[in-house]
Amino acid sequence: MKSKSLLAILLVAAVSCGKDGSLTTDQPSSAEAGYVGTMTVEYLGEAFDNENISVKFTPSESGTTADITIYQIKFVPQMPVTIDVTIPSVTVSAASGTISFSGDNIVPWALGGEMPRYLVTGLSGRIEGKEISFSLSFGDYPTRFSGREQVQE
């Protein structure tokens, strides 16, 4: 059973004190967070929705990069399996309570290793409050995701 404490970890902007003692949100978060939402993949000109897709956002210790893992995605509806894909070392920045992230020409990880066939290009996204959204291309598959922070019982 997953512990409640883990489940309660939410994405928040890292908090630091300014000279005047006010709170700022200029530093990216170092906390891991999970989201659930819909991932839309364009296939042969048609949009194909993957419902209830889980996405994990795992910032590095420095908070300047993050790994984004997408669980159980299908690139085409006919796929008899779903796969987990990780986009490593995405560039992260934070400003005014919003975390932005981006990346280009990133080789994702899946099926135990690198998957250059699904090279990530044009990654751009942001986390605002409890919402996340991003878009990218997995090789020839334009993809976008929007989801909400995962609250698990």
Binding site: Y71, Q72, M79, P80, V81, T82, I83, D84, V85, A110, L111, G112, G113, E114, M115, R117
Partner: protein
Amino acid sequence: MSQVVPGVHIPDYGASLTSTIYIRGLGSRMENPALGLYVDDIPILDKNAYDFDWLGMQSATLLRGPQGTLYGRNSMGGVLLLRTPSASGRDGIQGLAEVGTAGSFRLGLASETGHQYLSAGLRHTDGYFTNIHTGRPADPYWGGGIHWRWDKAGSEKLSLSNSLHLNYSDEGGFAYGRYLDGEIQPVDYNDEGSYRRLSAIDGFKVQRRGAAINLNSVTSLQLLADRMRMDQDYTPESIFTLEQKQRSIAVAQEVVISPAKPFRHWKPQTGFFCFGKAKRMAAPVFFKEDGIRTLILDNANRNIPENLGYLDITEKEFPVDSDFGIYSWNAALYHQSAWEMSRWILTAGLRLDYGGDGMSYDSQALIHYRFVPNMSVDKSFETSYIGNLRQHSFQILPKISILYVIPLTGGLDRLTPYGNISKGFRAGGFNTQIFSDILQGLMMNGMMAGLGVHLDHSYASVGAEHTRYRPEEAWNYEIGLRYRHGSVFNGEINAYHIDCRNQQLTVFPPGKSTGRMMTNAGRSWSRGIEMELDYHRGDFQSHLSYSWCNARFREYNDGNNDYAGKRVPYVPEHSYYLGGGYRFHIANHQLAASADFRGAGPVRWNEDNSISSPVSLTIGGMVSVAFDHFNLYLRGENLGEGRSPTFYFKSVGNEFFALSRPRRISIGVDFKL
């Protein structure tokens, strides 16, 4: 006994492990038998010990139809009662030596001294079927046994006896040929098929005749150790093999009491029976190179888009180890009374039978895999499946029969119409053979999960809790007519209807498993007519028997198809036997000649009845010359060289048949000094 007794069909296939008996449409090639076997009143509790060598048998009595009231579990189709020779009071030695085709020979020696009868026998054959892959016989056999029986009447009130049977066999077997394009191919497989067994059965019997009651007690101890090796795919490919080792011990006790002085019209007997049996079984399945590819990798990669890559397993072969501890127990109380009223005989009985089974299982597998081309280093995956199961059941087994004796006039003897209703059951158990499939599914799912691949439909189809099956029950309704004319002519004809419920049938587990498992999947009925005639006059004797059996599924869905209305496979619709012999007296010697014709069929081999074989006919004969102390004989079996199918099954999508043994000729001498 096959076909000689109407309704009984004992196909000759496999090895001593698989002694399948079909009777009145009931039977099973797996797990618990439908026919109970008693040797010298000892219930044989392990089906693996049913097929054994003996040197001479004093008598064999087959009771057809459910005999649950007196004999309890696994007597649903009937009971075979064998009695071994005992000391007759004339000390001496008997012997037998026989040689025959296929390099076969048989030797036996028996000695009778005082209260003891000791016999030993040895049998060998080079085998009747050649495995064309190895060029060697597939079914050589070496076997032998020792039987010791001791009978002593301690006093008028007490009799004691002990019967000990030791048996050892080392044999090939599983001479199965692939069924391809309507033809049965020669035996052709690459891995070992063998069976080795050591069994010891001892029964101690006490008969106490008291002033008020007589008491019969039989206590038995049964030990069995065996090892089977089997090429489970029966092809020249290295797909998968099974090695199964068992060690079992069983103890049984039966006590029967009856009045010392029989009442004039009432003959009651009351009994208590119990047994306990424990078995350790190790049954590793070895997945070999072709099996890893076809059974595991092809199944896994079929679901992965080619452009992503493919899964590979590093091992050339690996075992799925499965260890089981299985125990069963049973306790029963029964009573049967017979009332004789003028020409009527009414018999009624009831058995209360409570029993249970338990199993602990421990299955393990370790493999290394990689996803090509993504992974450059192997990943290991270890899985284990450990747990316990148990179940119990309570059975009420009634029986009622009525018989009327009609004396006949005009030199005839008597006519006896009868009718009876009885219930029997076949014990439940556990599907041990499905555990390698369960592990196979867990491995595939586990490897996939390790790669971050999730199948739309999981491989793991059943859990251990689904591997148990409950007892199968049968009600038998029968009417018949017996005619007896002294020792010259005996005849009997009967008709029966059997309603079988909770029938233990094999099904495809849900999901993608390649295995099959037994479950209580359906109901069936069988209806039939049996007839036998004996004629014996002077030096001529003959026996004729015929059986018609129509056994059909009432309900049976194996998960893929519905077979309601189809005939139950393996059961011959008709069976015939005609045998006769004559003894000539020449000078001081006797010349005896006999011949027999047996037929069985048509047989439907699969559940949808799409594969069947016609009536098979075999001819046998024997000629013997008797001298003062010895006989010489020449015996022939299957003289017409008929090669009829005796068994059918499917493995890894392929179909296989076993064929009857070819013509066998043997010559021998037996003597008595």
